[in-house]
Amino acid sequence: MFLFVVRRLFFAVVLLLAVSVFTYLLFALLPTDPAALTCGIHCKPETVLANRIRLGYDKPVLEQYWQFLRGIFVGRDYGLGQTAFSCPAPSLGYSFNQHACVTSLIGETFPVTAFLAIGAFILWMIIGIGVGAIAALNKGKWQDRFATGFAAVGVSLPTFYIGLLVLFSVVIWFQILPFPSYEAPLDNFSAFITAMILPWLVLAVLSAASYTRLTRNGMLEAMNEDFVRLGVAKGLRLRVILRRYVMRQALIPIVTIAGLDFAGLLGGAIITESVFSLPGMGRMSIRAVVDSDLPVLVGTTMVAAVFIVVANVIVDIAYGFLDPRVRVSS
């Protein structure tokens, strides 16, 4: 087991390195010139050249990448004399657009995305599994039809459209809630909740749709299994059957998919963050694409990749715990 974990970790690190190399290469191939983006119509060639040198893009890509890699372990220094500054390890670079070290930028924006992801995750699991279970237990009746309809509609609705619609109606037209203005929960808990409640609900309800379908179908399949019949034949109560037999089976694929979905969300729920003006990592990464801000781009891509990789490992291991048939005997 130990060796298994070590091997997985090693490959994860290799994967992350590959992601960073790939990001750098992709950036080098971009048609936009990042050095020209800050000066608008005042872009004289001298200005552009000065910018290129300042941003470090005049150096060969390999050297840029090496500086980046070094920075992760020993930190990185910029400027000289009175105006020198540095980004301490683990340095993912410095954003000249936002005048801050990428690591600290991620440190500020990631919690917002994390809170969004966690809240939405909890809600969508509750809604999705709950509605799906009700549908499965009332197969053919109105609850089932409603749940199936909800799942079909929810999966097809675009987050952007629904998010704007909810924002417009709740905040602007009917003024039920004030405009979301994010504050950290420890700073101002009520402002935090007010800012997060709509994005949580929108994201959760739309994500719950596919889980409703998964749960309903998983449960119906499980309920047809022989071992469930045996459980009933033992004289167990319905609640126990549902818990130990039906849900136990139905939830396994759901939990693993949810783990990967959640990890993807940690990389940044871009659309939700944009519509509800949440200062999260998703919005920052989109901004980095538009501004061609390479350090931020690489930083956020790698953070997102870390979560996907970690989630995959956890899901693999979790699957082994959840389903004994999958375990590799040591």
């Binding site: 034949a233 033992k234 004289g235 048939r325």
Partner: protein
Amino acid sequence: MTENSVPVLSVQNLRVSFDTQDGTVHAVDGVSFDAYAGETICIVGESGSGKSVMASSIMRLNNSSTATTEGRILVKGLDVLSASEEEVRGIRGSEVAMIFQDPMSALNPYFTVGKQIAEAYVVHHPGASKHEIHDVVLAMMIKVGIPSPEKRIDEYPHQFSGGMRQRIVIAIALINNPKILIADEPTTALDVTVQAQILDLMMSLQKEFGMTIILITHDLGVVAEVAQDVIVMYAGHIVEQSHVDALFHAPTHPYSWGLLGSVASYGDNKRGGLVTISGSPPSLISLAVGCSFHPRCAHSKGEGSVCMTVSPSLRSVGSDGSRSACHLADDVLVSVGRGGFRS
């Protein structure tokens, strides 16, 4: 048939139908029989005869949202079909136990076998201590013949072979000393050698626990091995109910004749291969008027005869306690005599 005062199981006029997209399927259409303590009754029939549905009805295992059940099933004085959910749960696993056909899928893959056997015990012994449960489970595992039970009690079903899993299923079924054991094709999915082991186990446990076994099978070899009484089902009806010897030597229904004729027997010098019953089982949606077997029956009297217009009822035939649901049982078959049925 041994008479032992009160039957442990009394099925009275059981009808089970299912709503499907194509119409109402009459899976069981008026079945009645009694079973007594210590008996072994085999129920025989082809697929679609209604034998499995009837067996599941005894514990009310059919899906109530799609199945409509009529009639009475008395178990220890309780009418299972009209009892409350709690009362039925009370007899499941305690008075009546069931084992299923496919041992590979009968067990919950996510819990250890020890836990699953224990579960069956705890349902009906809620106050039992951990120690007691452990001892009981272990004892049962030994009784059903699982080697090194102390080690294997914590293993998962996928770590056992098919035959071992069936033993575990039996252990689960018998842990509460049920009066009635329903076994739905318990050996069909097993190798021939394992089949024999399982049957032997079941028989010895029956002797030890004194329980009634209702064994459903399509394998006449098994019937010959273990049955005392045999019920033959066709298209949701009982067409013949006889003592095992009587059935094999003097079947009283054309269908039973056909079943026996279709068994490949070693050493027989039949020429021309297996004998089959031509045609196929009828649709259970549109019930035929008259005898449900008549379209395939060589003895049917044809147009306008009683075979086509009146549904035969199960009645005594002959003097050895056999019952048959054939209009012609008394005259045609008795006169045709034993041995040799030509289709």
